[in-house]
């Protein structure tokens, strides 16, 4: 089922949590809302669920499959919601937690006792918890609680599954496993899913599309490839993965950063405007001698070679400190050591020109 949000505003006193958000989630896709804390992503998720109401602005609407559900409360929207801290009912067993949504249905539409039982066990099997049905939430590990919360949300056969930082409270290893598992589950069930996260790796790995949010506004919507490789804004560039920043100016239509010159800045800009060049650590090259390309002189500060890539910290002649990732192979070839002077060139980078008004 598709979800559409139109002109969503939400203010808390003087704080603007959401500022005219418009968004479409396609039927069956897994969409990640990605942003730092305070960016409004959880508020947006809660508005979709009906746990929060948007400000009454003209034209504001929440649509499920082209139907306005703004006037429906959370109980009537039939969404599955997985809370950040799971919000399991502490006085109920795992079984009772999962059965809750089925048991509170009006009598005429409620399943029979046996049917509820069968459905709950089917779900517990799906999340691999059928042996723990009689446990209480306090007797489960974090990852198990997570899965109970998911089974509970799925029990009411939601048209939409909403997950608020689903892996936020888990340790790194459990997180990785559950992430893969969630993606697999989504591929089986194909229920429209919106997931809130502040972890860019998680979003990149799991989602079909990513919504990057910042200060209550959407910065960019796109596939993981699009947002990672073609960031539309400085914020997206900086938030997704590490970057190196060079400051420069526009001179005769080109962006100039010391010896580095980029021909086509992202936008047309007047001469003298401040420009910022973002380069990912793996898009910088280290050479022991100039190789013909425009390059910066730099001094190696520190080398960290434990890991899949070798990470090199350098101080450029222009004063910027940068971080470069190179392969172990290349590292051995060049025989680098701290304090060595090297040349940096750039494979690709992204230029943003600051608004400049006189």
């Amino acid at each position: 089922m598709s979800i559409e949000l139109r002109h969503i505003w939400r203010t808390f006193g003087h704080f603007i949590a959401l500022q005219d958000v418009n968004l479409e989630v396609r039927s069956g896709e897994l969409m990640a809302l990605l942003g730092p804390s305070g960016s409004g992503k959880t508020t947006l998720l809660r508005i979709i669920a009906g746990l929060e109401t948007p400000d009454p602005v003209p034209g504001s609407a929440v649509l499920f499959r082209d139907q306005d559900v703004s006037s429906r409360n959370a109980a009537e929207r039939q969404v599955g919601f997985v809370f950040q801290h799971y919000a399991l009912f502490r006085n109920m067993t795992v079984f009772e937690n999962v059965a809750f949504g089925l048991r509170v249905q009006p009598r005429k539409s409620r399943l029979s006792k046996d049917a509820i039982r069968a459905r709950v066990y089917e779900l517990l099997k799906l999340v691999h918890l059928e042996d723990l049905a009689q446990r209480y939430p306090s007797q489960l590990s974090g990852g198990q609680r997570q899965r109970v919360a998911l089974a509970r949300a799925l029990a009411i056969q939601p048209q939409v599954l909403l997950l608020d930082e689903p892996f936020g409270a888990l340790d790194a290893k459990v997180r990785q496993g559950l992430r893969t598992w969630l993606r697999k589950l989504h591929d089986e069930l194909h229920v429209t899913t919106v997931l809130v996260t502040h972890d860019q790796e998680e979003a990149l790995e799991v989602a079909d599309r990513i919504v990057v949010m910042n200060r209550g506004q959407i910065e960019q919507v796109g596939t993981p490839d699009e947002v990672f490789h073609h960031p539309a804004t400085e914020f997206t560039m900086e938030f997704l993965g590490s970057v190196n920043l060079f400051r420069g100016r526009i001179e005769s239509g080109k962006a100039v950063f010391g010896p580095l010159v980029v021909d086509r800045p992202a936008r047309l800009a007047t001469d003298g405007a401040a420009a910022r060049l973002f380069v990912r650590p793996h898009d910088l090259e280290i050479n022991t001698a100039p190789n013909g390309k425009p390059s910066l002189r730099a001094r190696i500060l520190r080398i960290q070679s434990a890991g899949a890539l070798v990470k090199v910290d350098l101080l450029c002649e222009t004063g910027e400190q940068v971080n470069v990732h190179i392969t172990h192979e290349r590292f051995r070839e060049m025989n680098l050591s701290p304090d060595a002077h090297v040349y940096l060139s750039m494979r690709q980078g992204k230029v943003f020109v600051e608004d400049y008004c006189i």
């Binding site: 009906g50 746990l51 929060e52 109401t53 409360n73 959370a74």
Partner: protein, 275 residues
């Protein structure tokens, strides 16, 4: 702005709570203050400054203070012992600390009188030693000590349990002896809780009636506390006089509570916890 709330029942539960609270507590209490403001200043002043009233305040405050002080000392020892040591019967003792809360004041009143009257269980020995306990200010103090006992113990216990053992260990590694550690490290960090407990016991004693009425003998100028004076005035249908003294005592206990809250707040902001 009328924003729809996710959980239902806000209007009705808040409305009901405020209505009930107003009918049972706030409006009747307003009647007390209006009674006093409705009377002339002279009437009020005559009632609250009569020599009999002054004597009653003196006794009330002195006995309450003495009772709270006794509780501060012995309550500290009791709380310390219950938290730090193991000994047989500890669990029962811990449960029975709250007896003065649970035992109706009339029962404690007659029981204390039976103990401390001239031919009572303890009173007869005190009599021989020339000490008059029941029907004297001492008796009032005994009763007020009894009712205030749980406050000091119950505010100190959690503070003692929360005390970081690392602090004492640190003091020991720095060469402090046990007594020095107690006086310089433990006592200062328990002081806010101790003062809070003292103040709570004191505030409770100011308004006490039931446990005192039997043991005091209710002699004006000698063993009559403020609550007893209020009842005496009510029995003479001197409502304005009773209300005047009542308002004065009420303000005194509000001030106490305000002071306690301020103390708690200060401790909370300074040490990041409440006493």
């Amino acid at each position: 702005m009328a924003r729809r709330r996710i959980l239902p029942g806000f209007g009705i539960t808040l409305g009901y709570s405020v209505l009930y609270l107003s009918l049972i507590v706030l409006i009747p209490l307003a009647a007390l203050f209006l009674r006093v403001t409705g009377s002339s200043w002279e009437q009020f002043w005559d009632a609250v400054s009569a020599p009999r009233a002054i004597a009653a305040y003196k006794l009330t405050f002195a006995a309450s203070f003495a009772g709270a002080a006794v509780n501060a000392v012995f309550g500290f020892i009791v709380a310390w012992t219950l938290v730090r040591y193991r000994f047989p019967g500890k669990r029962v003792l811990d449960a029975i600390i709250d007896l003065p809360f649970a035992l109706p004041t009339a029962v404690s009143g007659i029981a204390l009188t039976a103990i401390y009257s001239r031919n009572g269980w303890v009173g007869r020995y005190l009599e021989r030693a020339g000490i008059e306990s029941a029907f004297s200010p001492l008796g009032v103090t005994i009763a007020l000590t009894f009712v205030g006992l749980p406050f000091v113990v119950r505010t100190l216990q959690p503070a003692l349990e929360d005390l970081d053992p690392g602090m004492e260990e640190a003091a020991a590694t720095l060469g402090a002896g046990r007594w020095q550690t107690f006086r310089r490290v433990i006592l200062p960090s328990l002081l806010p809780a101790l003062i809070t407990g003292f103040a709570l016991a004191f505030a409770r004693a100011l308004g006490e009636y039931g446990s005192v009425v039997f043991i005091s003998g209710n002699m004006p100028f000698r063993t009559e506390i403020a609550s007893l004076l209020i009842v005496a005035k009510l029995e003479q249908y001197d409502y304005t006089g009773a209300a005047s003294i009542g308002v004065l005592m009420l303000l005194a206990s509000f001030l106490m509570l305000l002071a306690i809250n301020a103390l708690q707040h200060w401790v909370g902001s300074r040490y990041g916890r409440t006493a």
